[in-house]
């Protein structure tokens, strides 16, 4: 019998293994960070220098100043923030109880609701846009907060009820049974026992939901116009017949990253916990 062949990894000394592992990690991190770093670099260059980011040494905050002086851009930030927050709040109101129902109840109502959500999830996201456009138009809410909010809420309910169901599946129902015996109504057992146990899950969902709406482009592009600019759409409008304003677009993108970055930083513990389910 021949001795087992030693692979590349086995032939390395423990120190070298650590160094090699670190190198690979650094390479992977760089791969993901590179676009963001490049974006940041571009946003700090004058308009004339954006094509020579790697060559020039001239840096300026002009692009940022220009953005803050543009009322439409400032409005877009406010609108995006407001819509993301409102959509998150209202969709969670429904999602939490709907996820709970899917997890705990059997019967016609629960299975019908399950069917509706399942069917909605089977439809590709993009196919919703055109019908939604006509619906929004016919109700006269095109290019308003409500016209963008309602579709977002509907989509979130369908997508996140599943996640919420998964969270509640992971919570032991005997705790609620104990609460029922301890004097709670069915609603009380949900509100006082199941809900507090689901706070990590709800926090995760809040972060996911907010980021999803903040970053959403397709609905915003089709369902809003001049009156309700949102940041993702405005960002895309730096591309025009006159050319590309890379520096402005990059600066806007960097600013748009900030709230998402902060939220993820504080919520990542919950998001990871949420994604594990």
């Amino acid at each position: 019998m021949s001795a087992p062949q030693r692979g590349f990894w086995d032939s390395l000394a423990p120190g070298a293994r650590r160094a090699f592992f670190g190198l690979v990690l650094a390479a992977v991190c760089f791969l993901f960070a590179f676009p963001v770093l490049w974006l940041m670099l571009t946003s700090l260059r004058p308009e004339s220098g954006v094509y020579y980011v790697h060559k020039g040494l001239e840096f300026t905050l002009d692009s940022y100043k220009q953005i803050f002086s543009d009322e439409r851009l400032v409005n877009a930030f406010i609108n995006s923030g407001a819509i993301a927050t409102l959509a998150t709040f209202f969709s969670l109101l429904v999602t939490v109880s709907s996820g709970y129902m899917l997890s705990r109840f059997r019967g016609r109502i629960a299975s019908t609701w399950f069917g509706v959500i399942y069917a909605m999830r089977c439809v590709p996201y993009i196919t919703w846009v055109l019908p939604l456009y006509f619906v929004v138009q016919s109700y006269g809410v095109y290019d308003t907060y409500i016209g963008l909010l309602l579709p977002h809420i509907a989509v979130h309910i369908c997508f996140f009820s599943w996640l919420m169901k998964g969270f509640f599946d992971g919570i032991d129902p005997s705790m609620e049974h104990a609460a029922l015996i301890d004097g709670c109504t069915r609603w009380g057992a949900f509100y006082r026992v199941a809900l507090p146990s689901a706070i990590p899950a709800i926090s995760a969902l809040t972060v996911l939901c907010w980021l999803f709406t903040w970053n959403e482009f397709l609905f915003a592009q089709i369902l809003t116009g001049r009156n309700t600019p949102v940041i993702t759409v405005v960002m895309s409008q730096f591309v025009s017949e006159m050319g590309l304003q890379w520096n402005l677009m990059s600066a806007t993108a960097i600013l748009a990253l900030v709230p998402a970055f902060v939220l993820t930083l504080f919520g990542q513990k919950y998001v990871i916990q949420g994604l594990k389910i």
Binding site: S174, M175, H177, A178, L180, I181, D182, G183
Partner: protein
């Protein structure tokens, strides 16, 4: 008075699975009943129907004379301990204990007094401000017991509360539950799949299988006079030995015989077995009733030792005679035996059990 009366209790799941069948059972005031049986026998379902966590398909449940069929759990005045403790994870031990009383709008001073009393009984004093996840399994189960005591309910319900504990802790908690019973006598129903728990805790033991009650009696009754082959095999450890024997009369005696074993039927069973003369029945012998090379009791035959399990306090023997295998327990640990030895087994004839091979019910 908090007697529980179950009358013709049935539970179907969607018409397909009949989990509990026609249960009739009266649990006396302050009586401790254990429901025991293999998984899927309907014991937990019965308990959950008493608690109000499962709806009843048909039949009646009365607690303290009141029909509770349609009462929600909170109005039945019962308390329950769950297998996985079911403590409220986001609350401290104190709040867990206080939860039920606060729901009843009991004044805070009284709640504190009740909790102090329960904490004294269960030794929870140090743990009051901790969260359940900071407690060991045994401590969590004690908190769960405390949650029942503070409410001072009509009925305690236990759903396999010791199953998640390790063997040593389980014995300790068993004793603690016995002690608790003495201090807080309350009508109790205890579900378990462990026959030792059922026997040691219950005033009466209810053995269930396939949704039916197989036998209900004191621990001594279910052990000494099992109603059928299932109960005989389920209660007792190691399990009872069974084999088919022919019954025939000889010199005014009834003899139970196989090609390898031969036993005299005692006076106790003679009348009942007379009708089986010339037919086959199932003979049951408990491993602990078999004696090795004893001269003072009736010998039943010779067997060969296959496996020896030395436990220190006793020896367990797996033996064989022809195609029959038999377990022998409580053998003197000092007895010089080796695998392959042939030994003489004897058993007092009134320790034999006979079962109808068709219905499997006891013949007596």
């Amino acid at each position: 008075m908090s007697e529980i009366v179950l009358t013709k209790l049935n539970k179907h799941y969607g018409g397909m699975h009949h989990a509990v069948r026609n249960i009739d059972l009266t649990i006396g005031d302050k009586e401790f009943i254990t429901l025991v049986g293999p998984s899927g026998c309907g014991k937990s379902t019965t308990l959950r129907m008493i608690a109000g966590l499962e709806e009843i398909t048909s039949g009646e449940i009365r607690i303290g004379g009141t029909l509770v069929n349609h009462l929600p759990p909170r109005d039945r005045d019962v308390a329950m301990v769950f297998q996985n403790y079911a403590l409220y994870q986001h609350m401290s031990v104190f709040d867990n204990l206080a939860f039920g009383l606060r729901n009843k709008k009991v004044p805070e001073a009284e709640i504190k007094k009740a909790i102090r009393n329960a904490a004294d009984i269960l030794g929870l004093g140090e743990l009051m401000q901790r969260k359940p996840r900071q407690l060991s399994g045994g401590q969590q189960q004690r908190v769960a017991l405390g949650r029942c005591i503070v409410r001072n309910p009509k009925v305690f319900l236990f759903d396999e509360p010791l199953s998640n504990l390790d063997a040593k802790l389980r014995i300790q908690m068993r004793v603690e539950i016995k002690r608790l019973r003495a201090r807080v006598p309350t009508t109790s129903v205890f579900v378990t799949h462990d026959q030792v728990e059922a026997m040691t805790l219950g005033d009466r033991v209810v053995v269930m299988k396939d949704g039916y009650i197989q036998q209900c009696g004191t621990p001594l009754q279910v052990y000494g006079e099992p109603a059928n082959k299932f109960v005989a095999g389920f209660i007792g450890s190691p399990s009872m030995n069974f084999f088919e024997v022919g019954i025939h009369a000889q010199d005014g005696e009834l003899i139970a015989q196989t090609p390898f074993l031969r036993a005299r039927v005692s006076e106790r069973y003679k009348a009942a077995l007379a009708a089986w003369n010339g037919r086959t029945v199932i003979l049951g012998v408990r491993p602990e009733h078999l004696r090795v090379n004893a001269s003072d009791v009736d010998p039943i035959g010779k067997v060969e030792i296959e496996v020896i399990e030395q436990l220190g306090s006793e020896i367990l023997l797996e033996t064989r005679a022809g195609d029959l295998s038999m377990t022998v327990a409580r053998v003197n640990p000092q007895l010089p035996v080796a695998a392959g030895d042939v030994i003489q087994l004897s058993v007092p004839s009134d320790q034999l059990h006979f079962f109808d091979p068709e219905t499997e019910s006891a013949i007596r």
